[in-house]
């Protein structure tokens, strides 16, 4: 049994302690915006925020998360897609297949929270998520657009 605070709601879940947070979010909690792709923290499709920090949830055992830690998934980033990063993504039509994009958005939102005016190099150092469709240039442009669009909320 584990107690998790996800998107502001406490969830009691009955899982083995070594279950990765990703699969608890997807299967027990039922939020499927967070994606499985590699399972070894290489690609970032499973990125969520844990206390505001971009975290690859596919290798994080649920037992390593405390009930006090605030987990935010893409579903909790904003109620209606209005987070500045989401708005910038929409404005620049960033996604292609879209499968990696929720992870990219979570990584970008955490980056801007920590560094509201990132340089190009700051962006490429922090944004290491894989996009197989190759939307990297639009992702970079969207991050800069979001940074210039005003205050970034957490």
């Amino acid at each position: 049994m584990a107690s998790l605070t996800i998107n502001g709601t406490v969830h009691e879940v009955d899982v083995e302690p070594d279950t990765p947070l990703l699969w608890v979010i997807r299967e027990q909690v039922g939020l499927t915006g967070t994606k499985y792709s590699c399972g070894i923290a290489q690609c970032g499709a499973c990125t969520v925020h844990v206390d505001g920090v971009a975290t690859r949830s596919c290798t994080l055992p649920v037992s390593a998360v405390t009930p006090e830690q605030r987990i935010v998934t893409i579903e909790g980033l904003s109620p209606d897609g209005s987070h500045p990063v989401q708005k910038a993504w929409l404005e620049l039509d960033v996604p292609q297949c879209g499968y990696c994009q929720t992870g990219q958005i979570m990584a970008a939102a955490a980056l801007l929270q920590a560094n509201p005016q990132p340089s190009d190099e700051d962006i490429t150092v922090e944004m290491t998520n894989i996009c197989r469709c190759g939307t990297y240039n639009r992702i970079k442009a969207a991050i800069k657009l979001a940074a210039n669009g005003g205050a970034i909320r957490g």
Partner: protein
Amino acid sequence: MTSALDISRRNFFVSSAATVGGLALGFHIPFAEAAAAETASEVNAWVVVKPDDTVVIRIARVEMGQGTLTGLAQLVAEELDCDWSKVTTEYPTPGQNVARSRIWGNFQTAGSRGIRDSHDYVRQGGAAARHMLIQAAAGEWNAPAAECSVSNGVITHGPSGRSTTYGKVATAAAKLEAPKEVQLKDPKDWKIAGKPLKRLDTAEKLTGKQVYSIDVKLPGMLNAAVKDCPVFGGKLKSFDAAAVQGMPGVKKVVTVGDTGVAVVADTWWRAKTALDALPIEWDEGPNATMSSDSIAAMLEEGLNATQAFVGNQSGDVQGAIAGAAKTVEAVYSVPYQHHATMEPMNATAVWTTDRCQVWTATQNAEAALATAANAAGLPIPQCDVYRLHLGGGFGRRSTSHDFVRQAVLIAKEMPGTPVKLIWSREEDMLHGYYHPITKAKMAGALDANGNLVGLRMRISGQSILASVRPEGLQNGRDPATFQGLNPSGTEGVFGYSIPNLLIDHAMRNPPVPPGFWRGVNNNQNAIYVECFMDELAHAAGQDPLEFRRKLMANHPKHLAVLNAVAERAGWGTPAPQGIYRGLAQHMGYGSYVAACAEVSVDDSGILKIHRIVAATNCGHAVNPQQIEAQVEGSFAFGLTALLYGEITLKDGRIEQENFDSYQIMRMDEMPKVESIIMPSGDFWGGVGEPTIFVAAPAVLNAIFAATGKRIRSVPLAKADLRKA
């Protein structure tokens, strides 16, 4: 259970809105939605209009990131003259297509054909619906249709000034006969098509609302993890189900055909955990000693074999080489590649004795349906496949529906219970349909003036068709091997006129399953030809652009894209300090592409690709901003292969099991891309793949300019780029 899942009613379509609501509710469509569905009118197969003027456009091809969904909707909406802000889309199912005599035509989404193969009939669908809607309004007004006009879905009767909307007349229009003939608009009059409109599928991809196949939820659903024999051609020998039966959540351990075993559990993580703990013995079969070395030896033998299939021939190439003032020879190699879609293979199936339904991500839903029916042991009319947007396709989800077959076989073991099968990344890597391995031996003959008078190209390596679609072979010859090297046609013509030419293929088929991998055989053919052209130009002491131009007089469209990138990149003018340029051009999937890459290589051999200028002539540009997105994405795909892409084999199995050993290019390596979209308006070419062809050769030629080194065996990860 079965009745709750009975979604076979004729009017059920998987649409973006209905998918989310329907899935969450186990396909019980709420009354309000059902009522709306009752009043929505199918004007024709392509166009459904709701009373609120929403226009639902049916999309036969599938969206996997390439933008086809939006482009096809633009083409229908253009002819329909509807309000673009009220357009939504939905996928018909392959079962419905079968039941309605394939009214939506081909569902296959591959070969950059989504738009170029169907633009004609989808536009006719839009035009016919427009005609019927106007007729319906005219009928209500008792006025001649010729006196009515339409704009943005509002129909106006000129003389009386009366107006109505598509939503108000759709029910009447649906009862009218379709016109026998319709006139399509001249593309120069387009207002919706041809414009850089936003994609229709973006918003839900930003919030997690987009439901992919891997996200499907059905009432009572169980989850399965599978392992198939890791050695190609091997079989399952035995497994010890008792060892995992008591593990948390485990429901059943089942064999999958004669090569695999699956664990079914309440959740996928528990299924996978138990599968990892399951003792399994494999019968590794006849290929257990296969390795990359043994495959390389096979291909090397083919480079000099006397028997080969001819792809393009003119003059007397041996005579030209024998009489040449100078000859140049080189051998190039391109390894196996894996598709590595971000969404691993998966499918959800529910099977009963009289019905089988599948939810999956497929580039060819009709083939998926055939696979499902075969595995289910049921006639096709008793089966159906529900499509969801793909988390990447790249050809993997058109080559084979092995994952659908497995899902149905597993579901068959649990009648009436939906089972979702998800492949782990490792399973996905080990059971691909890999971009085939080839080598090419190139020989060129230059005369005393440095003119190319003979070119000999011997390809040795694997045929895709021989394995995937043997009925496509022509007396044993695989015509697809010669993509972009053909003497004539509209698909992929060789862009150079060389008096003495021989291009042939020694087919060597290792027992590794090959597949269509975005760009397919154009990718290595462009590397072989374009890098060797660069070698020949340097051997002749000529500028690589001028050297090519002399051979391209009869190929003005090939030349036009090459000239465009050269001009934009400033070819012939000094590059910034430390930056070096390389060129490439190629024609494939009906389109002409060229690139000029700018790179630097530092003293320690570190490559940086600074900028690529790309030109595309795809005939008609249905959505220029989406073409730009495809051009950028194609560079990421082609450069990933150039930098890192290599699948190797040892002991009969693939050595790369995940993204740690099969690297994908990240943002820090992505160059600036400048696109020149130059549609000539006189043909329809593909967009999703062509730019890939020129990515690697343009960069390889720039690396030579920077270092004096010819890299003839990719990927670059194993090359030393320090200056020669």
